[in-house]
Amino acid sequence: MFAFIAKRARNAVLLLFLASVLCFALVVSAPGNVAILIAELRTPTATKADIAKVEEELGLNKPLLERYGFWLNGAIHGDFGISYKTGEAVGASLKSRLAVTATLVAGGAVVAFLLSLFVGFVGALWAHRAPDVVTRGSALLGASTPSFFVGALLVYAFSVTWHVFPTFGFAGPVSWVLPWLTLGFLPAAVLSRVVRVGFEEAMAKPYVLTAMSKGLSRTSILVRDAIPNIAPTYLNALGTQIGTMVVGAVVVEPLFAWQGIGDLFLTGVRFRDFMVVQACLLVFITFFIILNVVVDICITLTDPRLRLQRS
């Protein structure tokens, strides 16, 4: 088991290294001179001497490899340089916005988890009957609806028509509800299909026949025998969907005027603020890679067959 974790961790570090090279290369290859941009940001009438001073300060006149080492060292310690547009430290704005995105994704994950299990259970309990057909249809619809459209519909229904939740911005804990629902909707649709198909397959297995001959009810077979069997598949899908939700946050945050990392990334993209784009990209990639490793370990822990095979 430890050997397995170590192997996964080693692969993750390798992938992280490649990703950091990619992020660095992206900014180095960007058109335009960074030193001129920053010098002009400080004093609009920057002279050649000012530009040279900035180059000296940021180490832009050093060889690429040295610059990469300098940048990576800073990034590991949370220093991502300063934004070209605002002049603020990128690391500080990342830190201040982390909580918003984390809460958004965590809430979305809870919504997706509860909704998908509920819908999947309804479908499995009434398999091939009206509730199943309805839930399967809505799952297909939910998986195909763009999240910004879901958000707009939710705002129209709950804020504009029924005045239950506030529309945009932050006004107490209730304003979290709509972004959470928006973010959790698509993953819930996808996951409910995973649950539904997983139950369908599990219920055709011989151990279910044994349980039935022992006189257990359909519900208790679903809970006691089927759930442990679909758990690894479900966890895998949940991990993928949490990744999708982080991407979804980039779309949902501007829709609800939240100031999270997604919003920071978008602002960076819009104003071509390379340092912000680079830092956000690195944070996102790091998150995805770590998420993958965590999901892999969780699957191994929940599935005794894999545990045996991998230890």
């Binding site: 992938l15 490649l18 990703a19 990619l22 992206l26 900014v27 290859s29 960007a30 058109p31 297909l140 619809l141 998986a143 195909s144 609806t145 763009p146 910004f148 459209f149 707009a152 519909l153 705002v155 129209y156 504009v160 990744g243 999708t244 982080v246 991407v247 980039v250 779309v251 501007p254 990334f265 978008l266 960076g268 993209v269 819009r270 071509r272 603020d273 390379f274 784009v277 990209l281 996102f284 990639i285 995805f288 890679i289 993958n292 892999d296």
Partner: protein, 297 residues
């Protein structure tokens, strides 16, 4: 024409609902300028925000532009964008995948590790980063999406290429003294393109959605050109007074994506009965089994 005929045959076997939605989408896109009743960019502020009338069956938006015409022309914007992205992405992907599958060895290792990194990052993040570096414009959007989509295509085409290279006729060609150039361009490339084309159609929905999302964020198609995501964000400030202008583009986009998703599911579940010849189908099953084996760490 080797790759085209099996594709046409495959369309006949696709699920009906998918064929109708996608058919409508493609027809609207192709014929947009001829069937749109009004100029999609003609403004008439006097009737701005008006509900449905005989002249404007879906109403007009906040600038008095005819919504029906804009929805129809947006299908063309989307269709052209999707085709460009898929062609670019698959050109890169098939080139890299077939080279990796043909050469094997360290070339294969190196190229596939790059593909791994590309696949580890979600496509929207990749395309946003590329737009952030290159700037906002139509061609940058196409480039960004192509760069986000090629790794998937490279992976599939590598698997197909490896499979093709292992077939007896490839060995026979070598024995007959066919040059590597001939083997690659005459025998390997057409087979790979034919097999990958089916998967390309299944990807189209995700690309259409990505174009709409980028346009929604103001980073894709720019305002005067009608596009569903951009129409939606345009009408969002008027959600309270005129929700129709938000709901209609959203619904149209959802319908198109549903069509492609049903198709994609059919392809993924191998439910498309005769995508190529029965021989190719058997080959594809083997390829799928090969991926499954490869996906397991």
């Amino acid at each position: 024409m080797q790759p085209v005929r099996p594709l046409l045959k495959a369309i006949g076997a696709f699920p009906r609902s998918a064929v109708f939605t996608i058919g409508a989408f493609v027809l609207l896109g192709l014929l947009a300028p001829y069937i749109a009743p009004h100029d999609p960019n003609a403004q008439d502020l006097l009737i701005a925000g008006q509900g449905p009338t005989l002249a404007h069956p879906f109403g007009v938006d906040h600038l008095g532009r005819d919504t029906l015409s804009r929805l129809i022309v947006a299908a063309r914007t989307s269709l052209v964008g999707v085709c460009l992205v898929l062609v670019c992405a698959h050109a890169i992907g098939i080139a890299i995948g077939t080279i990796a599958g043909y050469r094997r060895g360290w070339t294969d290792e190196l190229l596939m590790r790059i593909v791994d990194v590309g696949q580890a990052i979600p496509s929207l993040i990749v395309s946003l980063a590329v737009i952030g570096i290159a700037g906002v414009s139509y061609w940058n959007m196409i480039l960004a999406l192509a760069l986000a989509w090629w790794p998937g295509s490279a992976r599939i085409s590598r698997a197909v290429a490896v499979n093709t290279m292992n077939k007896p006729h490839m060995e026979a060609l070598r024995v007959l003294g066919a040059s590597p150039v001939r083997i690659y361009f005459v025998h390997l490339l057409p087979t790979t393109i034919g097999a990958v084309l089916v998967y390309a159609t299944a990807d189209a929905g995700a690309v259409a959605l990505a174009i709409a999302t980028l346009s929604f964020l103001g980073l894709g198609i720019q305002p005067p050109t009608p596009e569903w995501g951009q129409m939606l964000v345009d009408a969002l400030p008027y959600l309270e007074s005129d929700p129709r202008q938000v709901i209609l583009p959203g619904l149209t986009l959802t319908l198109a994506v549903i069509g492609f998703n049903i198709l994609g599911e059919a392809v993924a579940l191998n439910r498309v009965p005769k995508p190529l010849t029965s021989r190719m189908l058997a080959a594809r099953r083997r390829v799928t089994a090969f991926w499954a084996k490869e996906a397991r760490p």
